[in-house]
């Protein structure tokens, strides 16, 4: 019991101000986590409202206007307020300095500033909702977005502000990874989650400025009619799409790369096996981040861009597939001759492999121009990116939360309930989104509030399973939250899965306010399960 009273970042220092003005990366990470999950629930609620409306063809629950607002806000909230900030902001913040053995990130004040900038941007987004919503789609295509009477300006301003938060976090992480590693922790001894954060941060600092300037140009187009994007004034709506996707395609990799990192941590630890192809995974992260900048035009295959760029974009698009495939095979081979435990994080990792493989392979269909023309802007695309974003990123995020939960907060959740929830997420997810592939093939367009009778059967399946999916996610998060309320504490020296990276071996759970009680000395690489037996020290 006396052990549990040890100083850690959660109980020391005390008081509200010590949280509001904290410079501790772990507390900032926790604040990101809480706000991220709140926005996740809000976005999820909007999704359920939409699915409910789509259970039957007509306007049964909500009107077209409400539906259009709901899908726009669902997209914008999930992307800009949850997925992009949540993984780097929450898990990245809590873990990165621990993993590189640093006392904090390179610029703690900047780190806190990014959180408040993010909150400030989020206020604009919330204002948008209170003030009647925005109905342009999260893509804000001109000229609809320059004409719409809904709250385009507050929403784009919010996104513009959140962009700065994203840039500053990326900047901070890059500097931390380059300069704050302890001696001996060379690039090839870094945990792969750090590599993933490195790739993510590079994309954040290079792509996000272009989003910022695009949003500024869009607002100016509304205020002054500058004529760059508005065809009525000599502008070109397709140019807007180039600007928008120059950010928003790499943004997909801001969302998925950290998920790759999480999976690269979970699988070796829970299989007690050295990761397969370390360098391949590390370099494929960087090459995906780079190639991600060259392929944005595949979002524009029906926009009327030149035939030449159609061909070039289709060609380069396939090169994203190859490093991604290498990763998937490496993860599977990691389990070969290991000792695999079916713990909740591992269940999520296996679900990820299944779902993300579907998401990735359906991307190949969309990369073939001729086929994409039929599938573009249909439910096939909706299903594809949900398999990548939810089946990939969010499932990995849940896995990561379960994996580092005892480390970050010093409490252990009920593992049986967690496994049931993971199974529910997996089944509910497939039930919701697999029918949408079939809908898309048959020609059901996306962003429709009402639809033709021919699609009703598949839509109602999708709606039914979305309820299961929603409940399962709620159960998973509540199970985690419950462990916090119940104070189901683990031993401070606990290493429940037998992890080998610094956050498991050199600091207590939850960590000390300054991370390490003494400067860590590196003894082995993060995946050396062939050299050292790390005991699982949590017994319950």
């Amino acid at each position: 019991m006396s052990e549990n009273k040890k100083q850690n970042y959660l109980n020391h220092p005390k008081g509200l101000m010590s949280w509001i003005l904290t410079l501790d990366h772990k507390r900032i990470g926790l604040m990101y986590l809480v706000s991220g999950i709140l926005f996740f629930f809000l976005g999820g609620l909007l999704a359920l409202v939409m699915r409910f409306e789509l259970a039957a063809p007509g306007n049964d629950v909500i009107s077209n206007e409400v539906y259009n607002n709901a899908y726009t806000l669902h997209g914008a909230i999930m992307i800009f307020l949850f997925i992009i900030p949540a993984i780097p902001g929450a898990l990245g913040n809590i873990l990165l300095p621990l993993m590189v053995g640093a006392k904090d990130v390179a610029f703690p004040r900047l780190n806190l500033a990014s959180f408040y900038i993010y909150s400030f941007g989020a206020l604009f987004a919330m204002y948008t909702i209170i003030n009647g919503g925005v109905d342009t789609g999260w893509t804000f295509y001109t000229p609809y977005s320059t004409q719409s009477s809904s709250n385009v300006v507050p929403m784009t301003l919010g996104i513009f502000i959140i962009g700065f938060s994203s840039i500053l976090t990326g900047l901070n992480f890059i500097a931390t990874i380059h300069k704050m590693r302890i001696p001996g922790l060379t690039w090839y001894k870094l945990p792969l989650f750090v590599w993933a954060l490195y790739g993510t941060s590079l994309v954040q600092i290079t792509a996000t400025p272009v989003l910022a300037i695009t949003m500024v140009l869009l607002m100016l187009e509304r205020f002054l009619g500058i004529g760059i994007f508005d065809p009525a004034l000599g502008g070109d709506p397709v140019l807007y799409q180039h600007f928008f996707w120059f950010y928003s395609h790499p943004a997909v990799y801001i969302m998925i790369l950290p998920a790759f990192g999480i999976i690269s941590e979970i699988i070796p630890v829970h299989s007690r096996k050295k990761i397969w192809g370390y360098k391949f995974i590390a370099y494929s992260t960087l090459s995906i981040a780079f190639i991600g900048f060259l392929v944005w035009g595949h979002h524009m295959f029906t926009s009327g861009q030149s035939v030449f760029s159609q061909i070039v974009f289709s060609f380069i698009t396939y090169f994203v597939g190859i490093p991604t495939g290498v990763k998937i095979f490496s993860w599977i081979l990691t389990m070969y001759k290991g000792q695999v435990s079916f713990t909740p994080p591992m269940m999520y990792a296996l679900a990820f492999l299944f779902l993300f493989t579907i998401g990735g392979l359906t991307g190949i269909f969309l990369g073939a121009v001729a086929l994409d023309i039929h599938l573009h802007d249909t439910y096939f695309v909706v299903a594809h990116f949900h398999y990548v974003m939810q089946g990939g990123t969010i499932v990995a995020f849940l896995g990561g939360l379960h994996h580092w939960w005892p480390k970050s907060f010093g409490v252990m959740y009920n593992q049986t309930v967690a496994n049931i929830a993971a199974l529910g997420v997996f089944i509910g997810f497939n039930g919701t989104f697999f029918p949408q592939f079939l809908l898309g093939l048959r020609g059901m367009p996306r962003r429709y509030a009402t639809y033709d009778e021919q699609f009703v059967e598949l839509h109602s399946y999708s709606t039914f399973w979305s309820g299961i999916l929603g409940l399962s996610i709620f159960l998973a998060i509540m199970n985690l939250f419950w462990s916090f309320i119940r104070k189901n504490k683990v031993d401070p020296g606990s290493n429940p899965w037998g992890g080998m990276s610094l956050e498991w071996t050199h600091t207590s759970s939850p960590p000390h306010p300054h991370n390490f009680e003494e400067e860590p000395v590196l003894q082995h690489g993060p995946y050396d399960y062939d050299k050292v037996i790390v005991e699982k020290t949590y017994n319950k």
């Binding site: 380059h178 300069k179 100016l220 300054h514």
Partner: protein, 219 residues
């Protein structure tokens, strides 16, 4: 922190090992920030290039409405301010506080002059109606044949405006530098903020080096 060295200089943050690590980290982050700045302007340069290739004749004729002399003066002012900024850092490296402050003040004044000239240019454009977007109303004999000149002026105002905003932010930062140097907070031992703001200020110069020929000197 138990292992915090009591002999460490006051400007060393506890989470760094030594001053050199702290200096190099700041500088690295500053260059990462420069990267984001370049890419912010990149969007506008792309807009410029695309529209120039769509409206080559309009760009050539519309640029004649700009004042080359004011543009050239501003170029000279900004290059000189870059020199004085560099000399301020040189002086503080040599621990010459007085010279450093003098050079910073000079930089500040040049920056002010730049904005002053910009103001004169803008106010003339406002007067004659060479404004961005829908506010464009200038149909003088040298412009009535132009095809969509409002796009040229939109891009001109946004790019020079964003650049001007950077000059203004730089002035605020330099004012703060003058204050801290005068107070003796910055010395040859620790002048990281001056070096960082210097890099920012040179970037402002660097961007103008491209804006000047692209707007004022189209062939």
């Amino acid at each position: 922190m138990s292992d915090h060295n009591p002999n460490a200089p006051s400007h060393l943050k506890h989470y760094f090992h030594d001053v050199n690590q702290q200096y190099e980290t700041s500088k690295f982050a500053m260059w990462a920030f420069i990267l984001t700045e370049v890419l912010t302007f990149a969007g506008l340069f792309v807009a410029y290039i695309v529209y120039r290739s769509w409206y080559p004749d309009m760009f050539v004729d519309a640029h004649k409405l700009l004042d080359v002399n004011k543009g050239l003066t501003n170029t000279i002012v900004l290059i000189t301010s870059s020199l004085t900024m560099a000399l301020a850092i040189w002086a503080i490296q040599k621990n010459n506080k007085k010279l450093s402050v003098f050079m910073l003040v000079a930089t500040f004044i040049f920056a002010l002059a730049f904005l002053g000239i910009k103001y004169l240019e803008y106010s003339h454009k406002f007067e004659v109606g060479q404004l961005p977007g829908l506010y464009y109303s200038y149909m003088g004999p040298d412009a009535m044949h132009l095809n969509n000149p409002h796009i040229f002026f939109s891009i001109y105002f946004i790019m020079t405006g964003l650049h001007g905003l950077h000059v203004a932010i730089g002035m605020g930062l330099i004012a703060w530098l003058i204050y801290s140097t005068q107070k003796g907070n910055l010395t040859s031992e620790y002048y990281t903020p001056m070096e960082m703001i210097g890099i920012f200020w040179h970037l402002v110069d660097l961007i103008w080096i491209y804006l000047f020929p692209l707007f004022y000197l189209i062939g």
